[in-house]
C-alpha cells in the first residue's frame, strides 16, 4: 500500500509543532513520546501500521478549532480518529500527520425523550447511547458488531450499519444533527432536533465521508422505543443456493425482518464449536431471521417466514422460545469472527454488497476462487441487505499468504461490482479498498467526488491518502475545458 510521500520539512519541524500545539491543547492532550504513541499506530486493520507525527487529544471544540487553524496555517496534515475500530484503515496514521483523537469527547450532553433524540459528544460509544436511554425503554438503532467499543463520531464518519439496519436504516438515516469544525477552524452546526434543514444536505455528505471533510465535535441522533418483543428463527438449508433463494423470497413477500443473517458451513461449525449456540451441523447454510414488534405481529410473520422457508427447501426450522434462546442464536453469529480466529491464525474480512438475487452465484464463484487460491473462506453476512462478509483464512507466517489473501479479497470485490454491487457496504474504503475504487468508478466520477472535498479542504490536509487512489491538486480539478463555439450544436430538436 503506497501512502502519500511524507513531507520531510514538516517532520523536521516536529519539536516546534509539539510546542505550538501544547499552547492550544494543554496538559496530557499532546502525546509526543514514541512509546505512548504506539497505541495509535494502527486501527482495526492492524496489518497496516505507521507511527504518527504527534497524537493530539483535545477536550473542547475550541481546542479542535485551534488545532485545525494551526494545521492549516502550517500545512500540517490531520488524521481524525474515534475509537480506532475501523476495519479499512481509515484512521491509519501518516508519518507527517498528527492523529486527532476524539476520545476525550466522551459525554452525553442531553437526552430529550419528548423529541426522541440524544445529543452526545463524538467519543461516546455506540452502545453507550443505547445504554443511556434503555431504562426508559428507548435505544439507538444502528448496531455495528463493534458497538461496545466504536464511537458515535466514528459511526458517522463511516456511516456504520449493523444487523438491524435492514429494517431501521444505517447511521445516515438516524443522525439528526452535527457540530463540526471545518479545516479553517470555523465551527458550524448542521441539522438539529428538527428533520429538514434546507440548503445542501451537508449532514448527508459528512456521514460516511471517512474523516476527509471535517472534524465532528457533537452529534444529535434519533432514538426509538424498543419493540415490545423480538423472536429469532434458525433456518437450515442443504445448499447455499436454497438459503439465498429463501432470503429473496422473504423480502419479495413484503416482509422486512429486523435482521436477516446468513452463515455458511465453515462459519456454522466454527461458531458452534466456540459458543454452542445450538446450530444444526448437518446443513450447508443457516439463516437467522429476527422479527420484532407486538407479539401478534411477530407470531404472524414467523408463521409466514416458516412457510416461505419450507417452500424454499429448509430442512431445519427452530424458533426461539425465550429471550435467552434468542440471545443464544445471536451469540453464535456475533462470535463468528473470533470463532474463525480459533481455526485460523489470521483472517481477512471483506465487505462488498451485492443485489440479493445474485447471492447464490457469488457464493458459488467464491468457492471456486477459494480452490484456485488454496485458501479457505467462511461466510457470515447480512443476507437481507446483500452485504457480504467473506472471511479469508490464511497464515501470515507462511510466505506470500497474506498477499494471496489480499489478491483473493480484491477478486471477490471485483466480482461484487461485476454483478451490480459495490466495494464496501459498511466498513469503508479507507486505505484497504482505495486502489480498487477504479473498479467501480471512472476517472470523472472520482474527480467530481474530489472536487467536493476541495470545497471543504482545498489544501488536502484532512486524512490524505484515504479513499481516493490518486490525489489531484484542487486547482487542477477546477479547470474546465469548454470554450465558446467548440461544441457543434446545429440541430438539437426543439419541439
Amino acid at each position: 500500500m503506497r501512502m502519500p510521500e511524507p513531507n520531510a520539512e514538516v517532520i523536521c519541524r516536529r519539536q516546534e509543532i509539539v510546542a505550538d500545539l501544547r499552547a492550544i491543547v494543554p496538559g496530557e492532550g499532546i502525546i509526543a513520546d514514541v512509546d505512548a504513541m504506539r497505541a495509535y499506530e494502527c486501527d482495526g486493520l492492524s496489518a497496516y501500521r505507521q507511527m504518527p507525527l504527534i497524537v493530539v487529544l483535545p477536550e473542547t471544540t475550541e481546542q479542535v478549532s485551534g488545532v485545525l487553524s494551526y494545521c492549516l496555517k502550517h500545512s500540517v496534515k490531520i488524521v481524525p480518529r474515534g475509537a480506532g475500530t475501523s476495519l479499512s484503515g481509515g484512521a491509519l496514521p501518516l508519518a507527517d500527520a498528527i492523529i486527532l483523537g476524539l476520545g476525550k469527547f466522551n459525554r452525553i450532553l442531553e437526552i430529550d425523550f419528548e423529541n426522541r433524540c440524544v445529543i452526545a459528544q463524538p467519543g461516546v460509544t455506540n452502545l453507550g447511547i443505547s445504554q443511556a436511554v434503555s431504562a426508559v425503554g428507548f435505544y439507538y438503532a444502528p448496531d455495528p458488531s463493534s458497538q461496545i467499543a466504536c464511537s458515535i463520531g466514528g459511526n458517522i464518519a463511516e456511516n456504520s450499519g449493523g444487523v438491524h439496519s435492514l429494517k431501521y436504516g444505517l447511521t445516515t438515516n438516524n443522525v439528526l444533527g452535527l457540530e463540526m469544525v471545518l479545516m479553517n477552524g470555523e465551527v458550524v452546526r448542521l441539522g438539529g432536533r428538527h428533520l429538514d434543514s434546507g440548503g445542501y444536505d451537508l449532514l448527508g455528505v459528512i456521514t460516511g465521508s471517512e474523516g476527509l471533510l471535517g472534524v465532528i465535535t457533537e452529534v444529535t441522533v434519533r432514538i426509538l422505543r424498543s419493540p415490545e418483543t423480538a423472536r429469532a428463527v434458525l433456518l437450515g438449508f442443504p445448499s447455499n443456493e436454497m438459503a439465498s433463494h429463501c432470503v429473496a423470497a422473504i423480502i419479495g413477500n413484503g416482509i422486512i425482518p429486523a435482521g436477516l443473517e446468513m452463515m455458511d458451513r465453515p462459519a456454522i461449525h466454527a461458531a458452534e464449536d466456540f459458543v454452542r449456540a445450538g446450530y444444526p451441523l448437518d446443513v450447508e447454510a443457516l439463516l437467522i431471521a429476527e422479527l420484532d414488534g407486538p407479539e401478534a405481529e411477530v407470531d404472524h410473520l414467523l408463521e409466514k417466514v416458516e412457510a416461505i422457508a419450507r417452500d424454499a427447501g429448509a430442512v431445519y426450522v427452530k424458533v426461539s422460545e425465550s429471550a435467552e434462546e434468542r440471545l443464544r442464536f445471536w451469540a453464535g453469529r456475533k462470535a463468528a469472527f473470533p470463532a474463525i480466529g480459533r481455526i485460523s491464525s489470521d483472517y481477512y474480512c471483506m465487505d462488498g454488497t451485492i443485489p440479493r438475487h445474485r447471492l447464490a452465484e457469488v457464493l458459488h464463484r467464491m468457492a471456486e476462487m477459494s480452490g484456485r487460491y488454496g485458501l479457505r473462506v467462511a461466510n457470515v453476512f447480512h443476507a437481507g441487505d446483500g452485504n457480504l462478509h467473506p472471511l479469508i483464512l490464511y497464515d501470515a507466517n507462511v510466505l506470500d499468504e497474506m498477499e494471496k489473501a489480499e489478491a483473493f479479497g480484491a477478486e471477490i470485490l471485483r466480482l461484487c461490482v461485476e454483478v451490480g454491487g459495490v466495494l464496501t457496504g459498511e466498513h469503508g474504503v479507507g486505505v484497504e479498498k482505495r486502489d480498487l475504487m477504479g473498479v467501480m468508478f471512472d476517472e470523472e466520477d472520482l474527480k467530481q467526488q474530489q472536487r467536493l472535498k476541495c470545497a471543504f479542504d482545498p489544501d488536502g490536509l484532512l486524512n490524505p491518502g484515504k479513499v481516493y487512489p490518486i490525489l489531484h491538486r484542487c486547482a487542477e480539478l477546477g479547470r474546465m475545458h469548454i470554450g465558446r463555439g467548440q461544441i457543434p450544436f446545429p440541430d438539437i430538436p426543439r419541439f
Binding site: 426522541r116 428533520l195 459495490v422 467530481q448
Partner: protein, 413 residues
C-alpha cells in the same frame, strides 16, 4: 402554464441523456444560463431564476429497471410519480417517503410531479418521521454536472459506503449542481392494513404532547398530524370534517394482526387525551393524502402566503403561538409537530422576520408567494456566513459557471 412549456421556442427539450449532454456543453460554450424543469409542477418553489433559456427534462422519462424482490427501481428524472406509483402498486410496493403532490398548492394540475422534481426538492410526506425523506431513498444516480461532464455516484444497493454519498447532496439541491439522467430509488412493500386513530378537541399544545406520547411508544407510528378546528373543517373525510373541533391523527400501518394489536395499544395511550375515533383503509388514505399535499391551503381561491417550518416536534405549537401574537395565521401540523404549515394573508414582506424570529431553531421556507416576493425575501432559512460560504464553494465544485438554476436556493447558489 405547465402544458405550454414545450411550445416555448426558447425551451430546450432533450430526448435522451446524449442530447442533454450536448445541450449543456453548448450552453456552457455560449455562456447561456439555464432554468431547469422536469414536470414544472414546482416552478414556484424556491427563488425565481432568471436564465437565458429553459431546459425541460420531461422527455427524459421512463422506468428502465424494476426488480420487486430487490426493492429497487431505476428511472429517468422526468418520469411522473403517478406512473411509478401505478407500476409499484401492481406488486404491492410503493415509494415509502410518500412524495407530496403540490400541484394544486402551486395553482397547477394534480399528477404532474416527477421523480426528478421530488428528489431535487427533497420532498417527503407524513411518513418522513418513520421512513425518511427523498434523500433516504435515492441509492445512486448518473448525472451531468454543470461542468458539462458525466459522472455517477452510489449504486443500486442500500448498504453502500463506497466514496462520498453524493445522492444526499443531489437530493434537495434544486437542480443547482448537476442534472440527473437516471436515478435508482428504493421501493418498499405496501402495508396490508392502515388505520388512523383520531383524538378530538385537543388544543395545539395538548396535541403536541399526545403525538409525542404516540411517537415515543413502540407502535411504529407512521404519521402524526394535528388539524386545528378551521383546518379540520376543510377535510373531505366525514369523521374529520364533522368533528366540530380540532382533530389529532395518528397512523399505523403493517400486517393485519399487528395493526389490530397496535391500534388497541395506541387507543390506550391516547384515550386519556380526549374522545377517540378510528379511520379505516379508505378514509385513512384520503386523510393522509390531504395532509401530504397540503390540500387545506390548496384551494384555487386561496391567495395566502404559505410557510413551511421544520422545527423540533415539541416546539411546533409554541412557535405558531408566538407568530399569532402579532399576525393573523392559520396553521396545521405534521410530523408529530415537527412540520408546521402556516398560511398568512398576503403581506409585503411575507412576515419573514416575524416567522423566523418565532423559531428557536429549525428551518423556515417560504413555500408559496408571488415571484417578486420570492426574489426579495429569503425563501430558505438564511445561513451563517461560514456555511453560506461552504455552500457557494460546493456550487462552484459542480457548476463553476453558474449555468444551472443559478440563484434558485440562495444568492449565487
Amino acid at each position: 402554464m405547465v402544458s405550454d412549456i414545450n411550445q416555448d421556442a426558447d425551451t430546450l427539450c432533450p430526448r435522451h441523456a446524449d442530447d442533454l449532454h450536448d445541450m449543456l456543453r453548448w450552453a456552457l460554450g455560449e455562456g447561456r444560463s439555464l432554468e431547469v424543469v422536469a414536470g414544472g409542477s414546482k416552478r414556484g418553489f424556491g427563488r425565481p431564476v432568471s436564465a437565458c433559456q429553459r431546459l425541460d427534462l420531461s422527455a427524459l422519462s421512463g422506468i428502465t429497471l424494476y426488480e420487486p424482490e430487490e426493492l429497487v427501481l431505476t428511472v429517468a428524472p422526468g418520469t411522473r410519480i403517478a406512473e411509478i406509483d401505478a407500476l409499484l402498486a401492481q406488486r404491492h410496493q410503493r415509494l415509502d417517503f410518500e412524495p407530496p403532490d403540490l400541484g394544486l398548492l402551486f395553482g397547477g394540475p394534480v399528477g404532474a410531479g416527477t421523480i426528478g422534481g421530488a428528489v431535487a426538492c427533497n420532498l417527503a410526506g407524513p411518513r418522513r418521521i418513520k421512513a425518511g425523506a427523498a434523500r433516504d431513498h435515492v441509492l445512486g444516480f448518473h448525472a451531468i454536472s454543470g461542468r458539462g461532464e458525466r459522472f455517477k455516484s452510489g449504486g443500486r444497493v442500500v448498504k453502500n459506503v463506497t466514496g462520498f454519498d453524493l445522492s444526499k447532496l443531489m437530493a434537495g439541491s434544486f437542480g443547482t449542481l448537476a442534472l440527473m439522467t437516471e436515478l435508482t430509488v428504493r421501493a418498499l412493500p405496501s402495508p396490508e392494513k392502515v388505520r388512523t386513530v383520531l383524538v378530538q378537541g385537543l388544543d395545539d399544545t395538548a396535541a403536541m404532547i399526545a403525538m409525542s406520547r404516540a411517537l415515543g411508544s413502540s407502535h411504529e407510528v407512521s404519521g402524526a398530524a394535528h388539524l386545528p378546528s378551521p383546518v379540520a373543517a376543510r377535510s373531505h373525510v366525514g369523521y374529520v370534517h364533522n368533528s366540530g373541533g380540532s382533530v389529532t391523527a395518528v397512523r399505523i400501518e403493517g400486517p393485519g394482526p399487528s395493526v389490530d394489536a397496535r391500534c388497541v395499544g395506541l387507543r390506550k395511550i391516547l384515550s386519556e387525551f380526549g374522545d377517540l375515533e378510528e379511520l379505516h383503509m379508505h378514509n385513512s388514505t384520503t386523510f393522509w393524502r390531504e395532509v401530504r399535499d397540503v390540500s387545506y391551503f390548496a384551494d384555487a381561491h386561496d391567495r395566502r402566503q404559505i410557510w413551511r417550518l421544520s422545527v423540533p416536534p415539541m416546539e411546533g405549537a409554541d412557535t405558531v403561538a408566538r407568530i399569532a401574537e402579532s399576525q393573523m395565521v392559520e396553521a396545521f401540523y405534521d410530523w408529530g409537530g415537527g412540520l408546521v404549515w402556516l398560511a398568512i394573508p398576503p403581506q409585503k414582506d411575507a412576515c419573514h422576520l416575524t416567522v423566523r424570529s418565532a423559531m428557536s431553531s429549525g428551518h423556515a421556507t417560504l413555500i408559496r408567494a408571488g415571484e417578486t416576493m420570492r426574489g426579495s425575501v429569503p425563501v430558505f432559512q438564511p445561513k451563517l456566513e461560514a456555511l453560506a460560504e461552504l455552500e457557494r464553494r460546493i456550487k462552484q465544485a459542480f457548476d463553476p459557471r453558474g449555468v444551472l438554476n443559478l440563484g434558485r436556493m440562495f444568492d449565487g447558489v
